[in-house]
Symmetry: D3
Subunit: 291 residues, 6 copies
């Protein structure tokens, strides 16, 4: 059993500390006036972070880092790991140290943990809804500005796969690119000349004739944009052995299995990151004695 | 008729540009490989941003600024204003300029606009649910790290009020502060000595004896934490004329009116910012001719 | 006996390191050419930081952090604490470590310590001048750009209280706001609608009729702006039990006790932070032997 | 007649905007709650910045830039220039534009202008005190962290000269460097090998035998550290034609002319930057009508 | 004819300004002491940037932006465009404006222009050396820290192609990855699970059996690492129709055509960016009269 | 034997970490997709950094810091020191730790080490070419934007000297300054008034009459700009005892000894930093077992 989702781990050596420091500055400003006034600076305590609903956990390392940035002497002990399905009312971590530090770090740590676990929890529902079909659930670029790496990591903790990270690490030719380039073939040819040789080419198609055209032009992946299920099935048949297919648009928990049943390889779901409700997590603190 | 929510406008002279630049860098990285390969650099076009569901709009100025940061020569024309209830399938803005710039700015602009409008839309539902009672809906510190100013602004666009911005601009004495200080009175006295003279004092109470104690100690506001409706009613009666009351915890659209009916002055709802689904907004682009 | 001023401690988790690094970069630039040329890199030594005048100390932790940022292996031992009245020619700290590091950190550490102790020392004079009256000395926003948190902390080390930190954590309606809003009542009503419920409202008044108007409109605090002493006394009488009063404008060490004798609750003094002469502190170093 | 001090102008192409933005963020935080609540966003007005005491002006361009950063459409008209002696109660600038912007920029603009003019004013007193002697007044590195460029500029506006900017642009061998290097000659030789060929060498001496030793070793400048006036005279005689001399330590307005009379070339005064009281400057605003 | 290399344009909306400002700060520090002392602030002039050797130009827009950042009123007129072969002693741009600004911007503008043109010039030599073969010259990650986007752009100006930008936008499985994963197939399978679906997979092989193994495992591209020419020819034959081949290691201008003749699709050359001598470019200025 | 070049050590307390973090972010972006997919997160290993050509080493501490920033638990052992002449195929360091961290840090560490060692190696050739003459080799401001401190340090590791760091720490009056000031004397007089008293004055001269004029005006150093060897000899004779002389322009390894033989004190060579080919250094890794 490993500590992180088995399939992939996004390494964020550099930027995470800056993100957390900015979040703390946003919340604390010049001072936590309540804590400064009421909590002796040498008071120690212990807190437990626990679930208030069933969820798939994501972000436990991020929460730990928030506490450590506020006070490196804080001890953080985990009882669950990212990707784990945790029942309601279960302790997922214990945190021990200065009460001032615990209180100051609490909100930022929980805000990140709740958002990430919310995404993982919703993602898991989609993943389970398509279980047994060959389809993979993937995310989109519809993420929160500034939090994309964390949110895409949470998607993997939920058991789904990532689509490209941004505009720079994958080619996705949409209708507007096609219009600008003067056709599907022209667009693909442009990418062949311009993008580096390790990039596959995905092309958006909204009907079967566009699917046909994209296949003829050598697309590696066809995005089936808002297509009816029957058309998707035909597109999958056409693309079989030539290109992967990705269903996109208006996918919900209610219809995702039907979409998967068309045989598409990938189903992208913007809601994973833009509309997942926060998972309900809270922190309980027991004040000790000054040290 | 003014262009912004009537009650308040958060001025963010300094930080918004930095937030948008960071979001663009996150999405674009070193280059938009698809657009570079398919769109001539001198191609001009026009795009329309439109709703795909009914919503309360928030963030139209923010979206405009995203486009202007990518290319200051872009022309952005608004057809709706923040705080306005907009039906589905309505154009809310037209954007004209370089197609490359339009495509590169699109996702970040929409990500911000959808999140903010999602918050405003959910907020409006809560506000309408308590219409006619004296209760005000307020937000919490359960916001997305880095986006608090935008999210709290969206709450006001939805018609609700803001609670304190962070730990620095309002005193809220919670159970842990009380435990650390050695009681409600000790905590309030500590704040009286330490916080500046323009700060009111809010105290969390979870039962009526704590309400009584907080009132005796001179609290300006009592937060009624997860109290049953009947207890809340009693608390409101006790506090009448002495302190404001704020209901907090487990408030949903289903029960908010019942909570409001207790006579509380304020009802804080974390879901406004942590669990609002994104409002569905899209951009359609018509490619013109090179200039 | 605690290590920090008894009443309040401003916590600056995030920004202080950045401030110190920027100050070091400003002073050191690409290299300390003199030290590089004359001091062996393995030479160890011991330095003593000492007073050259009587003073109230402030910033000893900040000075320590400067040395630790330059070289984490430096040992810093304190002999006095912030808020302490220290006579002239007294050692307040010993610093041991690499001579290069000691010399490179010296100026920035002393510049901060001298400014902060200068503020604490001047503040203490004001505080003592009003001893026994009920008046509190408070600071203003007339601080050095970039150093407000440190300077306001130094004010508390001197024994006075802080006014609001900035424009965001307290409401202060001045003559221009009143003119813009169309009168005192309109301005206060505007704030009631717009500011959050934990903010008290202070209103500037320059004569007794404005005091009356502000009281009628429900101001929590009245700032008596440049009023004659007699008028202040009348204002205090009018406000008694209804609002706090703050004397502001042209307060000097010579007249502060007379102002306090009017019965005002608060006296704000810009000079605490904008005109305090630096306290005279120096560092003596004894070079040891290479290690 | 030029707009800036005749002798030198420090060009700060890059950093000044960042400094001002940070100062504004420090003061405004998430929002100016009073102005937002009381001033219509379309209200225009005019303000005058004026002196409340006689002073030497410094920083008028810096103040202008603060207003322009808050709102580029503000019009700023100057009536006086840096380095100019301005009597009390004189308007030095008019500022026209959005009342919100004027109020938000006011404090930061004045804080910088008052500090810089305070330094220029004190500096001018020292310069006039030594008028007619050959001695130049120079500043030191005892400046406010983060503001060194502005403060050293203010010194030149006051009519004095700058010493080296930091540790990187001039060699100053102090007692500790001498002890570390094993003597004055060894220290100077070390610098000859290590520093680049455009650097002169200044050596601190606290008695005449050290002066002699520094001259023998070829120092370009001798800093006479806390020497009695008689010894300084002898040192000046010894150094004549061989090295410049700089008086340093315990120089006040009361004794600076006596020091200058010793014939020293330079007199460095830390108080210029670390203990100059702020010049009293205020802004008066007249609210216009919404536009 | 367009103004930029025909095949690709790297868009750097966000980061280039920051890079240039940092470079200017590095060079100017607190002030250009020579220019401040000798050049009147209102003196205008005209400068010509010209070649002192034959070269392929790259970076003319970057140079322009340096001047514009120092002074937005500077007029910059181009006489040549990126990617153009320019003979020696030819003017490539005229720059008109404040002499101070021209002198302050000169070095940073030239340093960037010379480096980028040096890269383009060397690249063109490699491109021409393989002209007529099917091989493409590509760059590597052996770029100058901080300048990768500019250097990779310069490579395209020279007529070659880019390899992946960094570790994030392309999969390249090297010997260490293979050892860590436990074999070529295991490594490729790991990537198939973990990397998103738009990434092709390149595998390093140092002999023909590794080439065979990589082909069997389905690699999209085989990097032939330091292979003899004969082995490369065999590898090309083996991979034909199954995978692209890339020659890597010890490629020089002397042997690159021989390498290309093996039939490889791509030849990567680290020297393009890590060892290109600067192209010789200078600026001549004619001082005008004060305006 | 010391660990650093004997003559000088540039201390870079503040900026180096930021530079390295930026370089890592540039290379890694959101994730190293190959390493994440193929290397178990708990796999440990050992790597050796070794030379592939003879070189003068520079930057070994910088390389160490790259690894430590990626993972502070990495152990870095040096086998050679900066300034040391190292033969080909020699191990210069061993690095032990997490294989993921080793692979992620490798390229940035090598890119810096290769560039710095390339500069040191080329510099050493120039230094040896003038051995026995009195001439010193010095660098210029023709450095890579952002890397000046590292490149100038590498020059000293190669055994040469630094010229001024930037525009701020040395006066160099060039032809344009002379034209702007209205002559050599006017320019020097301007500097005397404006620059601080620790700055020497260097003046560019392109013929003997300018040399004469600069000497008459009291220049400390004369830069002989692109002068023929014979003229340089005359200039050296003229300047003897009055000023140092610096040869500048068109100096190559082929002609540097002839230039040195003219008796000039300094020879500045831009190629040291702008055209040094990277030294060939590689890292070999042996994968261990998961820990």
């Amino acid at each position: 059993m490993t500590e992180e989702p088995s399939k992939r781990v996004i390494i964020m050596v550099i930027g995470l500390n800056e993100l957390i420091k900015a979040a703390l500055a946003e919340d604390i400003g010049p001072a936590d006036v309540t804590t400064d006034a009421t909590v002796p600076h040498d008071l120690m305590g212990e807190a437990w972070i626990g679930t208030k609903q069933e969820m798939v956990l994501a972000g436990i390392s991020v929460a730990e880092r928030v506490f450590k940035i506020v006070d490196p002497t804080i001890v953080f002990e985990r009882f669950a790991m990212d990707g784990e399905q945790v029942p309601a009312n279960r302790r997922i971590a214990a945190v021990r140290g200065s009460v001032r530090a615990l209180l100051i770090a609490e909100r930022v740590a929980l805000n990140l943990l709740q958002r990430m676990s919310g995404i993982a929890t919703l993602t898991r529902q989609y993943v389970e809804a398509v279980a047994g079909t060959g389809a993979k659930i993937v995310d989109t670029r519809k993420t929160t500005p500034g939090l994309r790496a964390l949110e895409k990591y949470a998607v993997t903790a939920g058991g789904a796969d990532n689509h490209r990270f941004g505009l720079f690490d994958g080619v996705l030719i949409k209708d507007n690119h096609i219009a600008a380039a003067g056709g599907i073939r022209a667009a693909i040819d442009g990418v062949r000349i311009s993008a580096h040789h390790l990039m596959k080419i995905e092309v958006e198609a909204s009907n079967l004739s566009e699917v046909e055209e994209a296949l003829q032009a050598g697309a590696d992946v066809i995005m089936l944009d808002n297509m009816p299920v029957e058309a998707m099935m035909q597109a999958v048949a056409m693309a079989k052995g030539m290109a992967l297919t990705e269903a996109s648009g208006n996918v919900t928990l209610a219809n995702v299995r039907e979409v998967a049943a068309t045989g598409v390889d990938l189903i992208s779901v913007g809601a994973l990151t833009h509309s997942a409700p926060a998972a309900d997590i809270s922190m309980k603190l027991r004040v000790g004695t000054p040290v």
